[in-house]
Amino acid sequence: MISALNTIIIDGMSFALPLFIMAIGGIYSERSGITNLALEGLQGMGAFVGALTAYLLTLRLGANSQVPYYMAMLFAMIGGCVYAMLHAVLCIRFKANQVISGVVINILGMALTSFLTKTINKQAFGAPSDKFDLGVSARFTVPGISKIPVLGAFFTRIYPFEILIVIAAVIAWYFLYRTRFGLHLRACGDNPAAVDAAGGNVAKTRLVAVMVSGALSGLAGMCFAYSISAKFSNDIYMGYGYLAIAGYIFGNWELLPSLAACLIFGFARSAGSEIVLALGMPSAYGDLVMILPYVVTLLLLVFLSKKNQAPHALGEIYDKAKR
């Protein structure tokens, strides 16, 4: 019983944290006033760039080196960041409908990464394949604390990226709530005209916010690639980006409540698969368990959406001339 509970916590955390960092990215973008449905595509593109980096470095440095792992994380962030600029340019410069732009980014991202993965595998490595194998990341256990019953599970068999995510989340929290930049960013989402009048640059702030969301999503995508899928392939597009969106909507566009939402998704998922395992049900029942996070999301939204208040200027194109 205890071991089942431990597994639920360990697996739940390793799923919830990447989801949370992606949700933070979404919060940055949406608090600045840019609707971001592109998280799914951004995490996929990030994971693609990161996985390619890791694959190339592993060929050069050998399988035992730790360098590819961390470089993959870095390049995933860069990849997601650069790809997010496309969303920013469409929304800010080309004044495209932000919902449509987000969906376009997702569709194009999926098409591009699967085309490039196949083409690169065939042309550069001479082996037709639709994936980059990465293997599952190594884990570690904090000695001492992990012996505490139940709570210790939070320090048992941790992926190194979970630490990275916690650090990134703290920095993101600090910037959003404790700096001038964060204040400007939040103001851009509620009253861009006021920011403009105060001498701020709305377009630039929004561009930075969307790029941050790309970088954080890219990191999340890479984490999924190193944990759940153990490879980069089209499997990366499992709708986790949309789960993250549901997470921050549920969290009312604030960081800490969003963390709670992501934890609920994570534990719902790991508890479900643990139940299937414990009851010895055939594998087809695993499919039924997979719907748990989605059902939980829908139900939570049903109960909470009415109260929630999105940023006032969310999704509106800011046009200086129309002030």
Binding site: V104, I107, L108, G239, K306
Partner: protein
Amino acid sequence: MISSRKRFLRVAVGSVLISLLIGAIVILILGKNPFSAYYNLLQGCGLAPKAKYGGGRSMFTDLSSYIDFWTPMIFAALSCAVAMKAGLFNIGISGQMLTAGFIATVTIGYSSLPGVIAKPLVILIGCAAGMAVGALIGFLKYRFNINEVVSSIMINYIAEYIISFFIQTNFIDPVSRQSVNIHDSARLTFHQIVLGGYKYDLPIGFLLAIIATIVVKFIFDKTVLGYELKAVGANRTAAKYAGIRVGRSIVLSMAISGALAGIAGVTYYLGYFASIQPKVLISTGYDAIAVCLLGNSEPVGIFIASFLIEIIAKGATYMSSQAGLESEIASVITGLILLASACNVFFMGILEKREQERAEKAKGINGPGSGGANAPDTEGSPDTEDRRGGAKA
């Protein structure tokens, strides 16, 4: 009005050409001939003759198979357009198609009803199932203020996994790893019909698709319902003050959208195919968005745009086998078209500005001798004209 439509046409043709050009450059970089690759696309759809054909095959059988493939897309894109006109974004078309296809398959597809009864029933059930899912999404939006994009994607995944569960536990064909094929009597395509020695695929759905295109056009252009939906899409608050019941319009447009997606589903799963692959959500629902944007959400525009996009999608398999390119290049090109279409408002603005400047310049050349006093008059009239045209569009 007319000039704005013309402007849109120019932007749409431009975005397709630019996307094809970028695709051609990519093909060139990979060391293949883009012209022959694009010609392969046409050959794969029976729009150009292939070098040789297998037994019972010809250019026209390829064409019939292409039309069979094209049919679901027309419904799917119309479905997207109905929601888009009302200011909603139905990204759950794939899920609605799957739900409708699955329910029709298990209720009618495996029954032994004669074709005359089974085929209309399949369409009705598909329509009803899609409508139910669409209406649910609309209801969640209206009653609980849930963003329709998020809820429809959640429903997509739920439908995918639940249906995959039922197929794998009850209806799996152990050889093909898909659901057991439905009876021919329930299938909406007359599959491999032999006429004069050639085997054709004749879709009933295509006739329905033409009718649906006309009906949707009629609803939007001539009925109160269509007018109300458009008003809600243009400005929800203004529509509310004009006495339109916005909530009802939202649910209704999603229901119609879902119904069209449901028919798309049955023409796909019980027409072009006769079985359902578990754990796969087809990309038709997403491509439909590209088609809809490219066609400016106008039924006739969609009919033409879907023809084009589906050539790229269907021809990709043949192109991949002939030119040695990955068939995913097709979805990349579709994605690029989508990207360019997303900016169409911006490009149309540029065209409009340029036209205005040209008109002003023409005025300046025509009347160089005229005095300064009456100049504002002559300049003023085309300007207001244009603005009125813009507001109407």
